[in-house]
Amino acid sequence: MCTVCGCGEGETRIEGEEGHLHPHAHPHDHSHEHTHADGTTHSHPPAGHFQRHQGDLHYGLGPAHAHAPGMSQERMVRIEQDILGKNNALAAGNRKHFAEHGLFAVNLVSSPGSGKTTLLVKTIEMLAGKAKVAVVEGDQQTSNDADRIRATGAPAIQVNTGKGCHLDAHMVGRALENLNLPDDSLLMIENVGNLVCPASFDLGEAHKVVILSVTEGEDKPLKYPDMFHAADLMLLNKVDLLPYLNFDVEKCVDYAHRVNPALTVIQVSATSGAGMEIWLDWLLNGLDLAKAGREKNVEKNVESLKQRIAELEAQLQAAVTPI
């Protein structure tokens, strides 16, 4: 199984790429035999692991540089590393890339069947002419969802996680390389349908958006608190069906706020269009902020370059001025 994402080895696929995306660490219990210049042949574990020096056993190479018979050289090594540190570092890289290019990235998370893809399709259609949109689609198998997105004209990359239960920052980074997004675009990342695992994996997005449909239980925020805690926005979807259901909206929103008091809630229906304008405004506002951030960055870079030129000109002036 994969170290980074937990997927079955070799099962992650990104459209347009062959094979697995990240290297797999594996224990080396085989040895490598080789012959030295002096003709002696011996074997030792592969480089990077622990080698016996020239076939001898060196007890004195331990950290204590000594060996007392029967005494173990056990010592403590301080690590203090986040278990998800590797993913977090890759996510920070994605986040930096998004900031430099004015990309507003949202990570859409929900259980399967909440209407994520239908909502996405509707959102893209309504944003036509107002924003450049691209999509990363995460599913265990098939490119059905990416096909649905591409039918709207928006570029989309399907990431199949194989047995994996979530997208990770590395998969998103690789998908980005294949998307060639223009600056100031909206990037919608549709995560694998799963209300548990994607909560822990930062992809570098600006916000996690959790989608809950009214055909599900109103107590889902209590049952799956981690996801509702990690999200900044909740879209309560399929509200056009409320007249036919016993779904208590107030109770649901109350439960969500118990888990995350700062959670913003928008009620929407991709089918009837209810609430969609509020959702689009939220997206466009985020996109404006991302664009403003990029422009400010560019200004800052231009300023520092100008300053550098002024310094160099002053140096040049000083150098050519006759003494």
Binding site: G62, Q81, I83, G85, A199, S200, F228, Y255, R258, P261
Partner: protein, 113 residues
């Protein structure tokens, strides 16, 4: 949750440290797991047993430091203990509690030879 992925992450951290510091055997792995991290400790322990097989940490003892959950109650303005993300403030009963601690998942230290 995705305890198998976490276990593989722990092995990678251990192997990276071994490469840098040149130890050849790990006898104990100490983790810090926050009460609000979403990690199922029994599942993680089970997955680690499997993942560490044939590695330098095969058979290593697993020590778990469980860190308590804490939160800041917006209504009473105090830091309070939190057992679960959906719980009310134990002081005032308000649900306006923002988690501030206990979401950690860290490899703290190793005993090595």
């Amino acid at each position: 949750m995705h305890e198998m992925a976490l276990a593989e992450g722990i092995l990678q951290i251990v192997e990276d440290a071994a490469m840098q510091q040149g130890f050849k055997r790990v006898t104990e792995v100490r983790l810090e797991i926050g009460a609000l991290s979403g990690v199922e400790v029994d599942a993680l322990s089970f997955c680690l047993d499997m993942v560490l097989k044939n590695s330098i940490a095969e058979g290593a003892r697993l020590e778990l430091d469980k860190l308590p959950g804490t939160g800041y109650c917006l209504d009473c303005g105090e830091t309070v203990p939190v057992n679960a993300l959906y719980e009310a403030c134990p002081k005032c009963g308000s649900y306006q509690v923002q988690a501030t601690g206990g979401t950690e998942m860290r490899v703290k230290d190793l005993l090595v030879e």
